[in-house]
Symmetry: C2
Subunit: 332 residues, 2 copies
Amino acid sequence: MRIIVDAMGGDNAPGEIVRGALAAHGKNGIEIVLVGREKDVRSAGAAYGGIPAGVRVVNATEVIEICDDPATAFKHKKDSSITVGLNMLKAGEGDAFVSAGSTGALLSAATLLVKRVRGIRRAALAPVIPTAGGQAVLIDCGANAECTVEYLVQFAYLGSFYAKRVLHLDKPRVGLLNIGAEPSKGDTLRQETYQALREAGERGELNFIGNIEGKEAMKGGCDVIVSDGFSGNIMLKTIEGAASFLGGEIKKLFLQSAKNKVAGLLVKDSLRQFKEMLNPDRIGGTAFLGISRPVIKAHGSSGAAAIENAVYQAEVVASSGFIADVEAHWSV
Amino acid sequence: MRIIVDAMGGDNAPGEIVRGALAAHGKNGIEIVLVGREKDVRSAGAAYGGIPAGVRVVNATEVIEICDDPATAFKHKKDSSITVGLNMLKAGEGDAFVSAGSTGALLSAATLLVKRVRGIRRAALAPVIPTAGGQAVLIDCGANAECTVEYLVQFAYLGSFYAKRVLHLDKPRVGLLNIGAEPSKGDTLRQETYQALREAGERGELNFIGNIEGKEAMKGGCDVIVSDGFSGNIMLKTIEGAASFLGGEIKKLFLQSAKNKVAGLLVKDSLRQFKEMLNPDRIGGTAFLGISRPVIKAHGSSGAAAIENAVYQAEVVASSGFIADVEAHWSV
């Protein structure tokens, strides 16, 4: 399994990216290809014992910056790490592509260079979020601010295939993120999507459990949360913010008094596990579902550990059979 | 200050409602009027030492149920506690109305019986949510699933006046809930609203700080979070779900081992405070902003403590000068 890594994307590129990618090299049969300014990549690698002989470095002289227009950057910067890496993915020179670069630029480039699976209208971002039930796929959460019924229905299928193949769930429970449980709730988009998903459920193609509210979703009420990219992003960022806020309050609590400080020492290890559960680096990346080859977006602030995990996730997605399921469904 | 309380609304009516309202009677100069089936109200009151002489009970023979059509229930059930109570509010027989009944029915009834302030297009639900910065007004969070630029701009003013008068903030920082910080982020609705709010900021009418993401909002990045009712509701319910999920994990953590149990005993009081901070009953209710008289919606699951707090909140809103500010702004 060969994973192509954008060495120039993200706040901590190239140092942390190269470090994380090298850590994954050789594990689970993973072979790494680093794409970026060769001189910078090699000097970053030198800080961590040098680039091993088995790791290929592909030179790409340009870097897509956050200020570049996401929709067109990959065209204007034909020698950027994203453009070069995705062209390699398309040409079959790797099995998946990992980047911590601009989400918008990566999405446009993946859509226009690697292309969507035939029949898929829009690719979607689908992070796996922690819930009281374990985890759930949240699709879409930012790629498509404005959606149609068809997009949402496709997201439901994409999320369901992903949950089956990547999270190994037999009949993933698909819920439509809404502001009430009844079919009549929400805006026209939700009401019409509800009917379409209900029909897909009746045909046995989806395990549609109906509308789901944010609260029930966090409690683990379903395995796939279907949303337009706007509300999904609000949900994702609210979870991040709430976890950070509550984590901070818990931290303050253990500093409130001498007694509390003692308690803090007693539960130190458990607190670390608790923090780890909420650590966005644990999974590392978010797959772009609907693209014809695996493209994994890592957090812009990714450090080495997050990149390493994103590489493992890329390997899991690439070997899961997920894309074959999507192709088979839409080829009918 | 006379507060009219819907004794029949909510999951725990009339028992807990009557109990909570009676607990607030006489405090801060509050006088309670209970509206509902007189026999049921009096027998509920009997369980708590009887209805005091100063508390008026107004008979209303009908009850709006959750299965009634929210848009028309108040018309078909003219003798329901919501219809009777709101007509009393309109007639000046009380200074505010508190109900734990159906949000939709209460909103329709308040809009059509008590009316909006002249010039206001839509009333909005505006709960005060806890953030790392203290608190923030989230407007709208469920009354209007589909919004226009004009609605959102009005929500910004309503929320700002509310934060000034009720939360006592001098220049409330108004943020537009969005999926990125730049003015170009989000859908057309957000892009156009951004421009309108920027202009209101330049005129010195609002302290508009720009777009705000869910994460930054939870960190306390602004005092008024402006949203359509759909995304706002997703945000609110996600906070509730995340708090419940994380609270549950913390609870589990303190049961993991004997050592952790000891730690749990040490921080018992602090944990209670932590839980209290997240307790939705602490504030008790959510004001409907834009209605010409104070209408407070309490949680459907409200117990006596939540109702008591909702009554205090009604008193605060009614004496705050908030509605006068709104009237003055839109009379220009």
